[in-house]
Symmetry: C2
Subunit: 134 residues, 2 copies
């Protein structure tokens, strides 16, 4: 869990809380996590999150209105699109990146003249463990 020296105090606190969590965390949950560290208002969390998202150190899960620490920082440098498998039973989130999917979406964009800025791929369902459990 390497530190990121360019982050400000609030940004580090939020990233730390995200990294400690073993699942997605909402902005208000993060705020609760960090009251003892002096955070008092939602905006402090949202501002830190904005920066972390911009730096690709965290991701927003649109279908949950929640956030996770980035699991694979390297893929973003290659233009990859992060995708997420979200278990609706246990809450676990797996981040992955698939070249075929990224390539095909890129090709579609190119064909249609659409210029992508931010792509969301979220698969909600049951992880193997929960599916087998019933």
């Amino acid at each position: 869990m390497s530190d990121h020296p360019d982050l400000t105090r609030n940004q580090s606190l939020v990233l730390g809380a995200l990294a400690r969590a073993d699942g997605p965390r909402s902005a208000y949950e993060l705020l609760d996590d960090l009251r003892d560290d002096g955070l008092r208002a939602p905006l402090q969390v949202y501002r830190a999150l904005d920066k972390l998202l911009e730096l690709r150190l965290a991701h927003r899960l649109e279908s949950l209105n929640a956030f996770v620490a980035c699991g694979e920082p390297h893929v973003h440098e290659e233009g990859g699109i992060a995708a997420f498998a979200i278990c609706e039973k246990c809450g676990r989130v797996e981040e992955f990146c698939d070249d075929a999917v990224c390539g095909r979406l890129g090709a579609i964009a190119h064909e249609t003249g659409f210029r992508p800025r931010r792509t969301t791929i979220e698969i909600r369902g049951l992880c193997r463990t929960c599916a087998e459990a019933g």
Copy 2:
């Protein structure tokens, strides 16, 4: 713009308002659209939307917290996953479905044992027209 006879009054009203709109509509915007038709509370809209989503007559855009009428009802019967290209400048939304993307995501799920229930694909950026304009 075919009618759907199995829908209740509220469901028809909401679907009609979505179909008339030329872009995504939030639940509260739909409520405002339908005040003259007697709708008074958010829940009336949300309940109608739930049903329309279940019937695949409408889609939720997670990254906008908004809804659109379904543009291609047929794809859903083939197990296809709807995807959306959302222009951040003009607000237009294009729905599409790509077999390669669907197939690859399905294969990934199968490999990992994940059982998908609902998949969100949303590409935000600039449509051809807005990209060329600006």
